[in-house]
């Protein structure tokens, strides 16, 4: 069992990879962070020293093998070091979402029973102190940013640099222990525990072994020919499996440099300065960037706008084909080269994507228009399909076979089968070990042969062999007349309009479909400004009759496009309303990764849902909201309910009967 794998050359844990990188290319940059306006850099050799000092400090503080160490902070080298230092001493790192409210944090902290927490600043320390009563296991907290913490009781509270300093001081006392603990790590030891955000119920702790992480990182790096010269920007939540794979798994396997932004607000500037060659973002980031570009183009001069429109039209026509290496006429190529010189190149540079060789989007379906926009600029944006339980990769799109409606072919080493009910199952080297302290869920998700249920319904496309995902299997329901109801499909169609941020479609066990809609404040706000519509708040803008007219036209367009689809023409949205507040993770309406929680929403807005089906034209409602600091308040509003025109689908109905 504990034999080092041949395939990995004895590199069977992340700390072992660190040792290798520090020896083989010690003088190459491993981490960069912008601090005090300058990119500070740590080479692999320096990073190894930092991690060793911290690991020694942790042993000195009393960390035992098998302990859980919670890590709460934004992407900073210190927290990546913390994860690897924890692994080096035989402990298990548990990264948490730093924007989680105190009680959410309490559940996870209690569930994993962390004895130690390495946190960012006063905010996180305060949150943990607030819930400490219920956490009997939590013993010590280590913080990175000392600001405001000077007067706190420091018996159980330590500065990050002090722990490192103590570690250095105690070098000779503990170095042998550290080495011994590191040697003990095998391919089967636990690498990390990550909590799934959970669209239903409590978060589950997914235990991933070194095998899972290293095999997944290795095969995916080979798939995209990643080298140690890649540059990535680490800005996605550290608690999310994607960041762990990109910024630790692949970074350590390949030996490339992880760049950390100065602050969340400076991310766009930092992206430009770094110019990553390998980039990952959820669809929302691409949507926001595109919305910003379009808003700025609206304000540009007439000549510039004309040039932009003309060249973008050309790019849309030939750009993707050029990227895929398909034949394109010489004239078109020349025109594209010109466009690249004057429009596409500068635009890509502004977006910070000028050097991207491989880009991925995942997590949600991306709108075809958005996807094509980036591809037509010559950015090799691809899709992948994955989840925490698979150490990310289930399917990947190979270069040259990229489409917006499929998620690609099985990742190297991953087997996929589709069950009779249409649900997608997979197994492979990245498949998780188990859910921590939750045998029941483990059994339900992963069978004895190692097949894992994804909970998504999908099918393999004839010919190309690419997987297509239809919807979350448990979201797919039946309408009152027995026809299939696929809410996500309709919601995604709605969300492709920049003005619509979020949509929740109802229809299970009902005669007809209806929807809640969230407007996008940036896009609609800009539109309002250009059309001289005054508004004082989100709520007021969301209730504006002209905004409702606009949303109605979007809904009706979606209905028309649904009518063309024989399988889903009955899912047209008959009635809708625009919500008076944005759906938010703080209110429990969404997960931290921004997936809607249908159950919570239909319960919380029961009155609104009722009004959608009882024919009323407006409804007064009061909703509880949670502020970022955890305080509660209430907002009330009178919402208009609109009827949207639907295309009659008599034939489909007859066929169903």
């Amino acid at each position: 069992m504990a034999q080092p794998s041949q395939a990995t050359d004895g590199m069977d844990s992340v700390p072992a990879l660190l040792q290798r990188n520090a020896t083989r290319f010690g003088d190459k940059p491993a981490y960069r962070e912008k601090e005090y306006g300058i990119w500070q850099c740590w080479t692999w050799a320096e990073a190894e020293k930092e991690i060793e000092a911290l690991a020694l400090g942790l042993i000195n503080l009393g960390v035992n093998e098998g302990d859980f160490i919670a890590i709460i902070g934004r992407n900073r080298p210190h927290f990546y070091w913390s994860m690897v230092a924890a692994q080096s001493v035989g402990a298990i790192p548990v990264p948490l979402y730093q924007d989680a409210a105190a009680d959410e944090m309490a559940y996870v902290m209690d569930h994993c029973g962390a004895r130690f927490a390495i946190v960012q600043d006063q905010e996180q320390v305060d949150k943990l102190i607030e819930v400490q009563e219920g956490l009997h296991q939590l013993e010590h907290m280590i913080y990175v940013d000392p600001r405001g913490l000077r007067k706190y009781d420091h018996h159980k509270l330590h500065r990050f640099i002090d722990i490192q300093e103590q570690g250095r001081a105690a070098h000779y006392e503990w170095i042998e222990d550290l080495k011994a603990r590191r040697e003990k790590l095998t391919y089967d030891s636990v690498c990390v525990m990550l909590y799934t955000s959970g669209t239903t119920g409590k978060p589950k702790g997914v235990v991933l072994s070194n095998r899972n992480i290293i095999e997944a990182s290795k095969s995916s790096s080979e798939f995209d020919k990643l080298t140690r010269d890649e540059e990535v920007l680490a800005y996605l939540p550290m608690a999310w499996v994607g960041d762990f794979i990109f910024s630790i798994g692949q970074a350590y396997w390949c030996g490339f440099c992880v760049n950390c932004p100065e602050s969340p607000e400076t991310m766009q500037t930092d992206l430009r300065e770094i110019g990553p060659t390998y980039y990952f973002a959820p669809p929302r980031v691409f949507e926001t960037q595109l919305t910003n570009v379009m808003i700025r183009m609206e304000d540009a001069g007439r000549l510039k706008k004309w040039l932009f429109d003309r060249f973008m039209a050309h790019a849309r026509r030939v750009g993707p084909a050029i990227l895929d290496g398909k034949p394109v006429s010489g004239m078109d190529r020349l025109k594209y080269t010109l466009g690249n010189l004057f429009i596409y190149g500068p635009l890509k540079d502004t977006l910070g994507l000028g050097r991207v060789r491989v880009g991925y989007t995942a997590g949600e379906a991306i709108g075809p228009e958005i996807f094509d926009f980036y591809r037509s600029l010559g950015i090799n944006l691809k899709q992948l399909y994955g989840q925490t339980e698979a150490s990310v990769f289930i399917t990947l799109q190979p270069d040259g076979e990229v489409r917006s409606d499929t998620v690609g072919v099985p990742a190297p080493g991953v087997e996929i089968r589709i069950s009779d009910t249409g649900e997608v199952f997979y197994r492979g080297p990245g498949t998780f070990e188990y859910y921590y302290k939750n045998d029941e869920s483990t059994k339900k998700t992963k069978d004895s042969e190692g097949w894992v249920a994804t909970g998504d319904a999908g099918f393999f496309e004839d010919g190309s062999g690419h997987l297509r995902i239809i919807d979350r299997a448990k979201d797919v329901g039946k309408m009152a007349d027995g026809q299939m109801f696929a809410p996500k499909y309709v919601e995604n169609k709605l969300k492709f309009y920049p003005n619509i941020l979020e949509a929740v479609v109802f229809g299970h066990q009902r005669e007809q479909c209806s929807a809640f809609i969230n407007i996008d404040l940036t896009a609609v706000g800009n539109w309002a400004e250009r059309n001289n519509i005054g508004y004082a708040s989100y709520q007021e803008l969301a209730g504006n009759p002209r905004v409702l007219d606009m949303i109605q036209s979007h809904v009706e367009e979606v209905n028309r496009s649904l009518a063309d689809d024989p399988m889903l023409s009955h899912c047209q949205v008959h009635r809708f309303l625009v919500l008076h507040k944005e759906l938010d993770a703080d209110d429990g309406e969404m997960t931290r990764t921004r997936k809607v929680r249908r159950g919570v929403i239909s319960e919380k807005f029961e009155d609104l849902l009722g009004a959608l089906y009882d024919g009323s034209s407006e409804i007064y409602t009061t909703t509880e909201v949670t502020y970022e600091d955890g305080r509660k308040g209430a907002i009330s509003a009178t919402l208009q309910i609109r009827d949207a025109a639907v295309v009659p689908v008599e034939t489909a109905k007859v066929a169903a009967e």
């Binding site: 005090y36 306006g37 600001r147 000077r150 007067k151 607000e265 400076t266 500037t269």
Partner: protein, 273 residues
């Protein structure tokens, strides 16, 4: 505050406050026939947050201007670090380590945030004209050193994202923060804040309060501030001077001041005979 000694006292939250650094002795300031300040005495101790409050026209800003050397009182003395301060120009006062912000923001609108904050380092830059012009040797060295100090302040006040933005394009709340940054760049021993929260919403006030407390905590800066918002003053300050019509009507801890009848009358209003 019964445990007050000449060497200082300990606040409720356990901070050690030192000896008197600045003392106003019987200050009277007149503009022609108008008496703006009448025979006021109070002291500011090392490391404390000292507030001056009062209704409109009470003479608070005049008092601050006396401290910063902008106005020269007709009577009374200003004692600073154990010595009587002669009549000084504002820049000389600044050189002694007293920095301030203004009620109506006084930044260079066309310059970036970074450049504005750099101007706060003017006292620390004394390379010659030639050196500055060719930007070699001392001038370059100074620029690097001072930029580092400024970057730490930018980091501290969390304004990294607007580092290169011209101040004119910023919203009000951020401009106030930039002004605080510039004052801090001078590494003052006393920081004077003239209505730091005026015109802010609740959230911005909370942020600003946090920054004021953190500045005091982190750099040990003595802070004297004028403020209208009573809630903010009572939460922030260690001791409060209350002024009304140019006279001092109260002085003490926030609790003492809150119970002072003269103060209650001044704020709630009583019939004047």
């Amino acid at each position: 505050m019964n445990d007050m000694t000449p060497d200082g006292y300990t606040t409720e939250d356990g901070r050690k406050i030192g000896a008197v650094v600045m003392e106003m002795r019987n200050i009277t300031l007149r503009f022609g026939g108008v008496v703006a300040i009448q025979d006021i005495s109070f002291d500011i101790r090392e490391g404390e947050i000292r507030a001056i409050i009062g209704p409109n026209g009470a003479g608070k800003s005049s008092m601050l201007n006396v401290i910063s050397g902008f106005y020269h009182p007709q009577e009374g003395e200003v004692w600073y670090k154990g010595a009587k301060r002669p009549t000084m120009k504002p820049y000389e006062v600044a050189q002694q380590g007293i920095a301030r912000t203004f009620q109506n923001i006084a930044l260079f609108e066309g310059m970036t945030v970074l450049d504005n904050v750099m101007t706060g380092r003017i006292r620390q830059m004394n390379a010659g004209l030639l050196s500055q012009a060719i930007w070699k040797g001392k001038a370059e060295r100074e620029e690097v050193e001072n930029r580092e100090v400024v970057e730490k302040i930018i980091d501290f006040l969390e304004i990294q994202h607007i580092r290169k933005t011209p101040v004119g394009r910023l919203p009000y709340g951020l401009k106030k923060r930039v002004e605080l940054a510039r004052a801090l760049a001078a590494e003052p021993s006393i920081l004077l804040l003239d209505e730091p929260m005026a015109g802010m919403n609740v959230e911005e006030k909370e942020d600003m309060s946090r920054f004021i407390l953190d500045v005091n905590d982190e750099f040990g800066t003595t802070i004297a501030l004028i403020e209208h918002d009573m809630g903010v003053v009572m939460d922030l300050s260690d001791r409060v001077v209350v002024m009304d019509y140019g006279k001092k009507i109260g002085d003490g801890s926030p609790d003492e001041v809150r119970q002072n009848q003269a103060v209650i009358d001044a704020y709630l209003g009583v019939a004047h005979d």
